[in-house]
Amino acid sequence: MTVIRELEFKVLCQRHSDDIYRFARSLLANDADAEDATQEVLLRLWNHLPKMYPFHLKAWLMQTTRFYCLDQIRRRTNLAAPMLMEDEILDDRPDELAADPSQAADSSIRLEQARTLLLQLPENLRSVFVLYEVNGLRYREIAEALEIPINSVKVYLSRARERLAKLVTEEELCKRS
């Protein structure tokens, strides 16, 4: 029984840990905190695995991640966490990108720019945007995870896109000037 549970957990870890990490990273704006959050959610997944309803798994994971992250934010009061310095960003890239240092550096900078833009959105819009566009959840799943109506999900997503597009344009203008 335990072997099956371990196997199931391993598969679920492989499948969902990226989503959890990305969502936690977008909420906490800090790599170390996002790693802690991911571990905590994975441990909670292990505890809830025997009584888990598989069709709600993704929504449950995102909801747990969000609750944990918001709790951490409330505790540490670091909503506007400082961005990492460039050196730290370069050190923290995944191993597969380390093969080509210049490519890895470019990728890190682009990723950091994307994170910076994303962090300028309010938490609800950011959550909806990350869950839909980055993690690929459906409207129903997002509504379930964030405990809001489906219509609100659609509205938030539209607003998030609009604001991000505006932010991207502003950034472009700043660069040109």
Binding site: F9, S17, Y21, R22, V134, L164, A165
Partner: protein, 130 residues
């Protein structure tokens, strides 16, 4: 603008969870899961150990009790035997004392009584002769 947004989404999608996080989570789970297993084994083992210790203690106490009882019986028999010997000795001493005292009395008093009787008889005979 849409291209930029798509590029931004692509960048965010490229973000991966480090493998070590999964390994650490699995390690923590494994560590947490082994301790209840150990506890599950430890409880019956402790119970068995306790029962064994209780059995040994009881057996030891029973053996000690039996030894003490045997020692007490032997002591009682020895005391009874000693008392019997002592009483025998006292009896023999008394008997010997009785014999000795009878002999002493007869040795000391009989001649004196006999002498006084003879004296009285002589005195009476003198009176009669007169």
């Amino acid at each position: 603008m849409q291209t930029k947004l798509t590029q931004l989404i692509r960048e965010l999608k490229n973000e991966k969870c480090p493998q070590r996080l999964r390994d650490e989570a699995r390690g923590r789970i494994a560590a947490r899961e082994t301790s209840p297993r150990r506890l599950r084994l430890a409880f019956p083992m402790a119970l068995a150990g306790l029962m064994l210790a209780c059995g040994l203690l009881g057996w030891q106490r029973h053996a000690r009790h039996r030894t003490e009882l045997a020692q007490l019986t032997a002591e009682r028999a020895r005391v009874a035997h000693q008392a019997e010997n002592a009483l025998g000795l006292v009896g023999s001493v008394l008997l010997s004392a009785g014999n000795d005292s009878g002999k002493i009395i007869s040795d000391r008093t009989v001649p004196a009584l006999r002498d006084s009787f003879e004296t009285a008889k002589k005195t009476l005979n003198q009176y009669i002769d007169l």
